[in-house]
Amino acid sequence: MPNIVVLVKRVPDTNAKITVSGGSLDLAAVKFVTSPFDEYAIETALRHKEANGGTVTALTLGNDACDKVLKDAKALGVDNLVRLWSEGWENLDSNGVQSALASAISDLGSEVVYCGKAAADSNAGSTGPGVAERLGWASVSNASTVSFEEAGVEAMIPSSSGQARVGLNFPCVVSLDKGEMEPRRPNVRGIMMAKRAVVEVISADAPTPTVNVIRYSPPAEKPPGKTYEGAGNVSSVVQALRNEAGVI
């Protein structure tokens, strides 16, 4: 029966206002949540277990503030909660994050890993394929639906001509897009279990970062646009798109 790992990340709520001051982010007043695409990864992991048995372990990398997203996953039905952390990991680059996660996944003895296609904060999408490469596993990214087989999974992924139905043997990493599925909501029993759940904290080696953040800045302000009242101004807008903007 499959030993399933789902990667989750704590990120600012996508509704939150992000304040930048003096080259730094001020996230003090921001509510943090599980990254939206990770919810589809959790849902897929739980469906995999419901179909074929096994266990689901939610794994995150972060300090103790990240216990909350693990417990939220527990409330949905995940079995085990593991948090990966060491002192001095505040500024890991992708190389460090993936090395540590790959080593933890290897120690957990997993054969299939689900994650979101990208985290809502960085929008990078590097973790799934990067971890797979370090483990020497197959991977697909941006899967919209996954079905479960004895020795692997089948996933629908976007292709240049539409979609492709692809098969992967274990061990493999699958990153999830939104797709058609609706992630479940926690029930009362799940929430009670999550309160009592224990988070196992482990560590690993991670290389020193070679990508270093210099500063954050607010996005460039656009000059205010022109707003016209009424459909009679369509012609003015079309002319402006041709003559001012030069885009049509």
Binding site: R165, K178, V213, S217, Y228, G230, V234
Partner: protein
């Protein structure tokens, strides 16, 4: 320092974004090699003619007939010289970049929109902030399409061909063609998107007829995708959909929720059509029309037809 561009091809031709990657590589400084993963040597001449390129290597392998992360990374890694690796920030190239970075034990910086004095800037937090990083060593870098100017033609780089093989990790069982031949929002220079304000999925036909005039793709807000079966997730622009960066984005009946802005705010020009003058989308629009779509779309189509046909 050495920069290695991993180019994309489409139907055997070099993807036009390659010339933008050359400009990005130039701002990092150092020599430029273009590696073209392909099933034939049909794109190398175009790559050699980009100004500033020193060398073109076409890697020919069976696995390049359809995208597979692990075999592509292995085959390209075997051939690509050491240095910074530069790719376009498309779905497949971001994925491939991450695999090659991991294979070489390098970090990756995704979605770069500018490079100044060795500092790389990318949008983060759904475009609500920018992060600027420095590199202390080689990295894999993906570049957002449409943010760097294309390098000129007129170069004459040395070109070579290498045959390579690699074991495929994910086997394609079936290719499913798109329901219609319409352009995907992530590939389009012009996008016209509809939101809940369109009233129902049947009214998207009006957006499609304008898209046909413009050669545009049709997109949708999450609210529209979630509400109506006929509007597929593939059309969704925003936080849980696609991030797009077209020259022109026309938002029709879209209020401009922060999650929608996350997917389209970096568009060069934004047109908003909404009957509610208070809709937040107007704050981000270059041109706004406060009116119902029923009033605007027929005359928009007529104006565009007379201009473009």
């Amino acid at each position: 320092m050495s920069n290695v561009i991993i180019a994309e091809t489409k139907n055997g031709q070099l993807h036009p974004s390659t010339a933008e990657l050359v400009t990005a590589a130039n701002s990092l400084g150092g020599g430029i090699t273009i590696v073209i993963p392909a099933t034939s040597d049909s794109a190398s001449a175009t790559a050699s003619s980009i100004m500033g390129v020193d060398k073109v290597i076409t890697v020919i392998a069976d696995c390049f007939s359809s995208y597979d992360a692990s075999s592509w990374a292995a085959a390209i890694d075997a051939v690509a010289p050491a240095g910074n690796l530069i790719l376009t920030a498309s779905n497949d190239s971001k994925d491939l970049g991450a695999r090659i970075a991991a294979r070489r034990g390098m970090p990756i910086v995704q979605n770069v929109i500018s490079i100044n004095n060795g500092e790389l800037t990318s949008p983060v937090y759904s475009g609500k902030a920018l992060v600027t990083v420095s590199l202390n060593g080689n990295a894999v870098v993906t570049i957002r399409a449409n943010t760097f100017a294309a390098a000129d033609e007129g170069g004459s780089a040395v070109s070579s061909v290498v045959n390579q093989s690699a074991d495929v990790g994910c086997a394609v069982r079936e290719m499913i063609a798109k329901a219609n031949a319409r352009l995907d929002v992530s590939e389009a220079n012009i996008i016209i998107s509809g939101g809940r304000g369109m009233g129902g999925p049947e009214n998207f036909a009006q957006l499609e007829s304008i898209a046909d005039v413009l050669g545009a793709a049709v997109g949708a807000s999450r609210a529209a995708v979630d509400a109506w079966d006929g509007i597929g997730h593939g059309m969704q622009v925003g936080q849980t959909g696609k991030t797009v960066n077209p020259n022109l984005y026309i938002a029709v009946g879209i209020s401009g929720a922060i999650q929608h802005l996350a997917g389209m705010r970096s568009s060069k020009y934004i047109v908003a059509i909404n009957k509610d003058a208070e809709a937040p989308i107007f704050q981000h629009a270059d041109y706004g029309i406060v009116a119902t779509w029923e009033e605007v779309l027929p005359s928009l189509k007529a104006e565009l037809e007379s201009l473009l046909n």
